[in-house]
């Protein structure tokens, strides 16, 4: 059937500059560029282009420009180009529209409407270049109080402490499974996490055996509804176990890894036959209620000898704060809350763009709810879903998060351009693919260095902003909404965020 959809992008090649080296042809796994030997020139098929910009960056002559195609339908406020084309695609295929990455829709980004405080006169700002500025964070349950005994100068803690994760900066890598992303991308995240004093999350695809010894010490392993790749060793080499109930990009449905991406290595790690679709059920079929979740939490604690914090990851949906409170009472040591703009390797577009609530509002609601119930110390909050910069992170902390998960930001650091074609398995940047020719493009040394640099840069910026506020330890900013002000927000939004308007 002939497609009635415009090409999304337009490829412009400067014939003067092009040396016909065929580099673009090799770079593009989508087959956009082809060499015409008769004319001795390269030709491009706009229809195949995903707009990932790989060929543009790698063209030695800088001869290529890829830009959104200027073609248009008659302008119509209701029927945007996107709506028309999505409809046409469905008329042509009869299927669910898939997409990748986090929602790109213009829901209000609250980070951009929140401003930070700084000290003036009555309270000195602190210079992070000259004074200690502490970001160390503990994730897990904290006791209500410490009971100590003292004999002379000998002090003993009598209270039993709960296992906690220690991070040197409040930024962790979000769950991205081996299978969804390439082995090299997965290993880059692990390498960077270990090097930067933080943790990576294996996602639901297991942890390859040969990585367990070296990277278990900075791994959070996931237990999702598909139960892929789980064995006793997997649970015990990690520092924390996360039960994945939901994901911000697709609340209410499970992960979906197409068989094309299930290579021999992925199959072995996930413990499934090669080439089969790895489809996680929408719910955990052993969790139909909060008491079932409690049972699984306890089972995992038993399996790990009560030595590791158990995290429960849920998507931020309408009534999530009450649910999260139940999850804390069910024994979760960490609540990971994933908002509307959280990323994904593959999700139905209708769900990604229409289900869930923004992370910013979710953090504040959850923190307040747990405080009001007097159980905030029983669980840490890791926020996920659309963190783009250090200032987003520090605002999340002030709204009540203990730490954040970054997913898209980490992928961008490795080269991702958010082209949203992750589900095709043809990632030209070698990140979201199992094609060895493509994944080989990602050099673990270089990619992990880029990730570590990102963590280092953001941590430095957080220290600068923290010092400006006259605070020298991150724990003194946690839930400290006094240091935030809103601009351009409605009253109800300020109420939910729990912050004053600017100038108030």
């Amino acid at each position: 059937m002939r497609s009635f959809v415009f090409p999304e992008f337009e490829i412009i090649r400067d014939e003067e500059r092009c040396g016909s080296c065929r580099g673009c042809e090799r770079q593009c796994a989508l087959g956009t560029h082809a060499y015409d030997p008769v004319a001795d020139r390269l030709v491009s098929d706009d229809r195949k282009c995903a707009g990932c910009q790989r060929c543009v960056i790698f063209c030695p002559q800088k001869a290529i420009v890829v830009r959104p195609s200027p073609s248009f339908y008659r302008p119509n406020a209701s029927w945007s180009r996107e709506k028309i084309e999505d409809l046409k695609r469905q008329a042509e295929t009869g299927g669910v529209l898939l997409t990748g990455c986090g929602s790109d829709k213009p829901f209000r980004i609250y980070w951009d409407h929140i401003l930070l405080n700084a000290s003036q006169v009555t309270n000195p700002s602190i210079d992070p270049l000259r004074e200690p500025m502490e970001l160390r964070t503990f994730l897990g349950r904290k006791p209500e109080m410490l009971e100590i005994s003292r004999e002379g100068k000998e002090v003993e803690i009598k209270t039993e402490l709960y296992p906690n994760l220690t991070v040197e900066t409040p930024i962790l890598f979000s769950a991205m499974s081996f299978g969804a992303i390439s082995y090299n991308a997965f290993k880059s995240l692990a390498t960077a996490a270990c090097r930067s004093g933080t943790y990576f999350n294996t996602g639901e695809g297991g942890l390859p055996r040969e990585m367990r010894g070296e990277f278990g010490r900075c791994a959070i392993v996931q237990v999702a509804s598909g139960r892929f790749g789980i064995d006793a060793e997997y649970l015990n080499v990690a520092q924390a176990v996360e039960i994945k109930v939901g994901q911000g990009a697709k609340p209410g449905i499970g992960g979906h890894l197409p068989g094309e991406k299930v290579s021999a290595a992925v199959a072995e790690t996930r413990m499934i036959p090669q080439g089969t679709d790895a489809i996680s059920p929408a719910p955990h079929h052993d969790i139909y209620s909060i008491e079932d979740l409690s049972t699984l939490i306890t089972a995992l604690k038993e399996a790990t000898n009560y030595e590791k914090p158990i995290s429960v990851k849920i998507a931020a949906v309408h009534n999530f704060a009450a649910i999260a409170s139940g999850i804390v009472r069910a024994g979760a040591d960490i609540i990971a809350i994933d908002g509307l703009r959280g990323g994904t390797g593959a999700a139905p577009k209708a769900i990604r763009d229409n289900v869930g609530i923004p992370t910013e509002l979710a953090i504040s609601s959850l923190d307040r709810r747990l405080r009001e119930e007097g159980i905030r110390n029983r669980s840490s909050i890791i926020a996920a879903g659309g963190f783009r910069s250090s200032s987003d992170v520090i605002k999340a902390i002030a709204l009540g998060a203990d730490a954040v998960y970054i997913g898209s930001a980490a992928l961008i650091a490795m080269g991702c351009t958010l082209c949203q074609k992750c589900y095709t398995g043809n990632c030209n940047w070698g990140i979201c693919t199992q094609n060895p020719r493509l994944s080989g493009r990602l050099n673990v040394e270089i990619a992990s260095q880029r990730l570590s640099n990102l963590i280092s840069a953001w941590s430095h910026e957080i220290r600068e902003m923290l010092g400006g506020m006259g605070i020298n330890a991150l724990e003194s900013l946690r839930g400290n909404r006094d240091h935030l002000r809103g601009v351009g927000l409605y009253e109800w939004e300020l109420d939910v965020l729990g912050i004053k308007g600017a100038g108030e």
Partner: protein, 393 residues
């Protein structure tokens, strides 16, 4: 509706102030008038601006030593409003306490102070009935004070210990001293004083220092940048932060940690002003474990930003600065008298010849104790001596 919205938006208006603080204790327990401390605090007049001053005096009510002395402030805009608040408060007291004696707090009306509220004191014992019978007296009193301060409009309990009292208001501290006639009517063994420099103009009587809960009082110089964090943590334990100042959170933190959780002051100092991680990482395993556990558990009570405080208790006076020492504090002794002050000069003014003068390090408490002081199971003190805390383990 309005009230509800305020709590959701956390629309507290925090008062910011710089200050002078001074404390004196006779470690033998001999009592003296407020004259000396009034003179000392007056010498630091430049550190205040006349918008707040106050005193905490211990040992002043020996005739009622077994009764809790509640000092009340009724702050309505008109006299009938104040009387109405008083009536409401007294109805409340009648339900919850046995009131043995009450009177207006005597004042010298020839001293000019701005908008004085109606000031009254009640000597009471708690009457715990029904389910409350299980509670300790102190828990009960703290709960009821929180109820008064957050629910009865225009009524504030600003002092609630046994055989001690706070006196405070909007004026220079020496004027407050004269207004309450502290140099003539009262003799105490321990005095702490505060002169205030708030940077906003809405000074009100309830916002002056000291802040007290039971017999613990706090005078404070500084601004707590971690206020929002400290506040929510304390609210989880039932403390209603209604008085709009940083000092209140320090007083409640001290109450939570020292009275309710029975932690020794050396440990409490390490919670409010902990060592930096770089220092903790260099400690031996045992101490490292303790400090890590403290910071992990009590991170939300770290008082960040500049502060110097004097915490008063019956028989004990503690001076503490923030961990990077952004506000001044000096300690000195002369015979059995122990001084803590923002400035050495004010100590020298009333006691020119001192046995010892020193500046405590950031985050390290100075502790003055009265002879025979004992509280809970803390045993290791050399009675009646000063010490500058070094290492616990």
């Amino acid at each position: 509706m309005d009230r509800k919205r305020r709590s959701r938006r956390e629309l507290y208006t925090k008062e910011i102030c710089a200050c002078s603080i001074f404390g004196a204790m006779n470690r033998e327990g001999d009592r003296f008038t407020g004259e000396g401390v009034m003179k000392a605090i007056a010498s630091m007049r430049v550190r205040g601006n006349g918008l707040g001053g106050g005193f905490a005096a211990y040992g002043i009510y020996p005739d009622h030593r077994d009764l809790y002395a509640f000092h009340l402030m009724f702050t309505g805009p008109t006299d009938p409003a104040r009387r109405a608040a008083k009536q409401e408060l007294e109805a409340f007291l009648a339900r919850k306490f046995d009131v043995y004696f009450d009177e207006e707090i005597p004042t010298d009306d020839s001293v000019f102070v701005r908008d004085p509220p109606l000031l009254w004191r009640y000597f009471v014992l708690p009457r715990k009935e029904g389910e409350d019978a299980e509670m300790t007296e102190e828990e009960y009193i703290v709960r009821e004070i929180m109820a008064v301060n957050s629910k009865i409009e225009n009524a504030y309990v600003f002092s609630s210990g046994k055989n001690m009292g706070c006196f405070k208001g909007v004026a220079y501290p020496e004027e407050i001293g004269e207004y309450f006639m502290l140099d003539r009517l009262y003799r105490g063994h321990t005095w702490t004083v505060h002169g205030r420099f708030p940077t906003n103009t809405q000074a009100w009587w309830g916002g002056a220092h000291p802040f007290g809960l039971l017999d613990t009082t706090v005078v404070h110089n500084g601004e707590v940048s971690s206020y929002g964090t400290n506040r929510w943590y304390l609210e989880m334990y039932g403390y209603a932060c209604t008085l709009q100042t940083d000092t209140e959170v320090i007083a409640y933190a001290a109450d939570l940690l020292m009275r309710r959780q029975k932690l020794p002051i050396e440990i409490v100092a390490k919670i409010l002003a902990p060592p930096i991680w770089a220092a903790i990482d260099r400690m031996d395993e045992k101490e490292k474990r303790l400090m890590t556990a403290l910071r992990m558990t009590y991170g939300p009570l770290l008082m960040n930003g500049p502060f110097a405080v004097i915490i008063g208790e019956t028989g004990r006076m503690i001076g503490l600065t923030d961990r990077i020492r952004l506000r001044p504090l000096t300690a000195a002794t002369r015979g059995e008298i122990f001084y803590i002050s923002s400035e050495e000069a004010s100590i020298r003014l009333i006691s020119p010849h001192l046995d010892r003068v020193w500046t405590p390090r950031g985050g390290e408490p100075v502790i003055a104790e009265m002879k025979g002081y004992e509280k809970g199971s803390e045993e290791s003190y050399e009675k009646g001596s000063e010490k500058s805390y070094e290492r616990i383990c």
